[in-house]
Subunit: 202 residues, 2 copies
């Protein structure tokens, strides 16, 4: 019991690092065990399977990062300011956690089986308050009438997809990783502008 927490943590940390570095599929459990300085069987003692270990890491990562986003979405902020903050914080979060992008992408493709993770992601988007706000502002005539689902999908697409096609953008524009990150930073101003534009009367 004395060493148990310690060992579990060592496995957790080694796995997190390796998953980030080479992707989940190309990281073997033997490799994790070696890096953690323990034995292969211990992997399975603490986490029943590699899949389970992945779940644990993912859940912790989402929880750690989602709270601020949910808070912003359900805050009493004025609509435009809320959009600006949400985009800003979300892009910052994805910039600092490339692992999150990998994980979400790995899960999305086989979302039929990965119910646990799907629910974790789904809970990230409790949009009821935000939806209401969009409808209310439209009723008041402050913005155009808009479909909240479409608007939220637009927002997520403009925020997240560029990270997914990072390699393509780098290759196409012949830029380095650092330059790509600058490109991403520019989007913190561009994306909210575009979204707010789409709500304006014409």
């Amino acid at each position: 019991m004395a060493k148990s927490r310690n060992t579990e943590q060592k496995i957790f940390d080694a796995a997190t690092e390796l998953f980030l570095e080479k992707g989940v599929d190309r990281t073997s459990v033997r490799e994790i065990a070696t890096k953690a300085g323990i034995n292969l069987a211990l992997m399975n003692y603490y986490f029943r399977s590699k899949e389970n270990l992945f779940d644990a890491i993912f859940t912790q990562l989402v929880k750690k990062n989602s709270e601020e986003l949910i808070r912003i979405l359900n805050s009493e902020l004025e609509l435009e300011e809320k959009i600006r903050q949400y985009v800003y914080v979300y892009i910052d979060m994805l910039s600092e956690n490339p692992l999150l992008v990998s994980f979400v992408m790995a899960i999305l493709h086989r979302s039929r089986e990965r119910i646990t993770e799907m629910k974790a992601i789904s809970n990230l988007y409790a949009t009821d308050q935000f939806t209401k706000q969009l409808i209310d502002e439209a009723k008041k005539g402050n913005i155009r009438r808009t479909d909240p689902t479409h608007f939220f999908v637009d927002m997520l697409s403009l925020i997240a997809f560029p990270f997914a096609i990072k390699m393509l953008v780098m290759d196409k524009n012949n830029i380095t990783e650092e330059e790509f990150m600058l490109f991403i930073q520019e989007r913190k101003a561009r994306v909210p502008e575009m979204l707010i534009d789409s709500l304006r009367h014409r």
Copy 2:
């Protein structure tokens, strides 16, 4: 020799279906052989390795779907009409191959080694003519000055990402697959509008 084309095609088709459905990593060559109704040794006779088979499938998949998109992008169409057509055709294409997005995203994400596939995707986005058109129109004062890379990333994001989060959208809004496809169809008008809006003077 008589049956060879046939057998090769059967392997090719079975593998294509399985790769799209479950991803490359979670498809075994024994499974492909079974589905194709042939023997494991034949897999190795026609395609030296699974990786080789994947390359062949991916290249064909991209070629088959990209020609019309490239044609539109490099056509002499007026800018707004070009955007409308590009979005329309792209969304139609992805609607007919809903698994293509997550498949390509998965490939893109570990493309450090997968040079062949990266180049294939990269060629899909020969945007030189389109970039020039954006700059020219801005010079003429017809549209705002805009960063062509950002604009193209915006466009791809709004087109493709909704397919990647299909399960999330269905779950969140409690809708069926058919209703999701209707949602996607609505985007054929919404997305070009948004993009063109972002080019307008304010």
